[in-house]
Amino acid sequence: MAVNTARRGLLWHVRIALLETRFQFLSSLRLPAFAVPTLLFPLFFYLFFAVVFQAGGPSLTAPTYMLATYGVFGIFAPSIFGFGVGLAQERDSGALLLKRTTPMPTFAYLFARVGTAAIFGAVVVLLLFLLAGYAAGVELHRWQWFALAGAILAGVLPLSALGLAIGAWAKQQAAVAVVNLVFIAMSVLSGLWFPISMLPGFLQDFANVLPAYHLGQLALKTIDLDLGRPLWFHLVLVGGQTALCLAVAAAGFRRFSGR
């Protein structure tokens, strides 16, 4: 099998990454246990709490607020499950080893995982936005729709890093349980299910160590409903947490390779 290294320009890299993303997306789509709850959970939550419960209210604050938090919740699942469970599975079944023997660069594999999470996330965001705009009556300035979508989807990166850290260490069977636990607990403690201000004070302080909390606040900032901490505060902390997750993941891979 001749590999023409001369052709490996930027375009080659883009194409190989997109191709791997296509396959990754299709394989995820064909896994109903992943695709269906990922898409429907946040939509049902939003429909129930923001549309049905809030219908006819004097203020649109609650449906608008929940649009941001359930949006982050919506990208949480595809991001953390893709790496956290998918990677552990592929590693323990030997599929990862097989992939490493192909000429596909590692970055394309990572890109495909993140890209797949972003595609699922974008679908969730779009459906949530339609539900909010046309069923809950939420109105946002044009730039805010874009800023909110961008802020939510940017969260795919830190949450994928979190999934990567879990997937790099946990065994296949354990990964499902660990990821579920982290996903549910962090969603609640980050204020993605109900406003963080409803939690007791010490839990609000604790939320600072959770990347999903900062992502929620960053999304809320675009619609002026955050708790009022400065932008850099959330960016620095979530950036640091992402770097930490990547370092943990790297240590996990070194262990795996050394075996």
Binding site: A2, V3, N4, R15, L19, L126, H141, R142, F146
Partner: protein, 445 residues
Amino acid sequence: MNDVTGAERSPWRRDPWIALGAATVFACILMVLPAPEPADPPGGPLPETNFAVVDVTVFDGEEFRPHRDVWVEDGRIRAAGQRLALPDGLPRVDGRGYTLLPGLIDAHTHTYGMVLNDSLRFGVTTVFDQFTMPSLAAQKRPARERLARTGESDLFSAGNLATAPGGHGTQFGVPVETLTSPGEAPAFVAARKEEGADWIKIVWEDGGTFGADIPTLDRETIAAVIEAAHAEELLAVIHASRLEHSLAALEMGIDGFVHVWGDEVISEEDAVRFAEAGVFVIPTLSVRVAAAGESMGPELLETTEPEYVSPMQRQTLTQTFPRPVGTSEAAVESVRRLHAAGVRILAGTDAPNPGTGFGISMHGELRLLERAGLSAAEALAAATGVAADAFGVEDRGRLARGRIADLLLVAGDLESDLSRTTAIAGVWKDGFPVEAAWATPQEPQ
């Protein structure tokens, strides 16, 4: 092409286009999602009676609340909150970069002539007058009971004050009913209530602090007037220019002080006694600094567009007291201690004394209260919510559901710069914009 990805017709050539197409669809949907109805920036003609000010920083009478909507319906506040579900077609004022606050309440003025006009133009929508002719107060009373287009602030007044024959208050050429003994107090107070006085103001002034000798009420009579006022369920407030007299009035059960004394600085222990008694103080620092020869007049005239200042405002602002009396530091320090002890402070100017002007001096008083240690929010509360509560006026002083839509819109962020209260972008009284008051739009900085 002979690498792992196979033939020329491989779908991978289409992938970038699919990605691009998906992103375009995504963006197109974001382009059509519902956006709020357009809101007009302040500067053009302001809407009346039924409208909303949207995405504005609200000072609600107690604290600042950013990104609020305020919905006015039939001249009253229908709702104030975040992201109100406003009806389609409701006129909207874009409040971004502006602060909306309740119309100010000047808790110490003396009313005559066109002064209520001057006050309103500067966002002072309610005046607590501390001595004017009862006939004038009676004439102005109906206006405060109805919601209608008007060019004047609403007036609440003590009317005729309680002073001794020839005492302070009798020197202005206005006929004043006086009293001399405790026995006359019940009849005196009943007569004031009959005239329509909203509360009773008592004068305890022997002129000592400015080198004069003036007849004044004795202690027993003052105590009897306070008692009679309370029997008639009226508040009793007092003009006392000495700390010693103020402490004595406190013992007698006075409800409020219409000046801060200028002779001595109150001790921290005595300030706590004021707080425990629950009294309020209207320091009128504007007139205190003017009496000391440090009037806010020049500063206010310099920072205000000349066309908004009436000849009378200019005249009284530039007047000076015959001779400077004391310094203002003692008064400011007393206010600082009273405030630190938790005493309710109200903003009042004592206009139109020399060095003050109706309406415009309230903006100076806010700055003086800040100098005395009040935060921007506390100074504004002294001119709105705290003042309304102190005098038991329930339908104004706060931006809250059901209150009269007396509103002041200013350009900029008052929390960081209280002096921007003069950057007035609009005034509403009873939900009606105050006509052509501020033709030049005020831009936020």
